[in-house]
């Protein structure tokens, strides 16, 4: 039983860090700031949550603390990425040529 749990935990660890790897890859490959924020925060949040779940399987006694870490990450990551994206938009960061829709700018133009 514990053997099975260990193997599940290890596989979850590998899956989580693979998502971290994809996040890092997206950070390097994406063309502009906003796409990088997407790649950098969503993928790494999922990756860290999977890693924490894997660590919980490996060491069930640490479950409460790992759960708290995951909860705090879920609270704070969207906040920081939204504030950063808005700051980048306000400070006029360059958009990629493929970007065709910018709802925030339309909104700001509608109500001055």
């Amino acid at each position: 039983m514990t053997m099975l749990l260990d193997i599940i935990g290890g596989l979850l660890l590998v899956a989580g860090t693979a998502f971290l790897l994809f996040g890092g890859l997206g950070l390097v490959r994406m063309p502009d700031v906003f796409n990088r924020i997407q790649a950098g925060t969503k993928a790494t949040t999922l990756g860290t949550l999977l890693t924490l779940a894997g660590a919980t399987c490996l060491q069930p006694a640490w479950g409460v603390k790992l759960l708290l870490i995951g909860l705090f990450l879920l609270f704070t990551n969207p906040l920081s990425s939204q504030v950063l994206a808005r700051a980048a938009h306000r400070s006029g960061a360059g958009k990629s040529e493929k970007t065709s829709i910018d709802r925030l700018e339309e909104d700001q133009r509608k109500k001055p």
């Binding site: 260990d6 193997i7 935990g9 290890g10 596989l11 660890l13 590998v14 989580g16 860090t17 693979a18 971290l20 790897l21 996040g23 890092g24 890859l25 950070l27 390097v28 700031v33 990088r36 924020i37 950098g40 925060t41 790494t44 949040t45 990756g47 860290t48 890693t51 924490l52 894997g54 660590a55 490996l58 060491q59 006694a61 640490w62 603390k65 790992l66 708290l68 870490i69 705090f72 990450l73 704070t76 990551n77 906040l79 920081s80 990425s81 504030v83 950063l84 808005r86 700051a87 980048a88 306000r90 400070s91 960061a93 360059g94």
Partner: protein, 86 residues
């Protein structure tokens, strides 16, 4: 078996660390570097959890707890600076 999987996970996390570091060094604007900094913090949390697993010491997780709750403050500080918020 489990040790091997943990080593593979550490390898993946190390490669992700290096990729985010590339963006931190290369990033044309300050906002790019802040995103890379955020990702580096999150990868560090994973690294701390992996270190706690290999050493078997649960008290290391307190540092990860502090980072999970406080790391967004640095990003918000830089964002507010970029938009002239203080």
């Amino acid at each position: 078996m489990v040790d091997w999987l943990i080593h593979l996970a550490a390898l993946f996390a190390g490669v992700a660390f290096l990729l985010a570091l590339t963006r931190f060094i290369k990033g044309p604007s300050a906002a790019d570097r802040v995103v890379a900094f955020d990702v580096l913090t999150i990868i560090s949390i994973t690294g701390i959890v992996l270190a706690a697993l290999t050493e078997g010491r649960g008290i290391y997780l307190d540092v990860a707890l502090v980072y999970a709750l406080l790391s967004f403050l640095g990003v918000i500080v830089v964002a507010r600076y970029l938009e002239g918020g203080f």
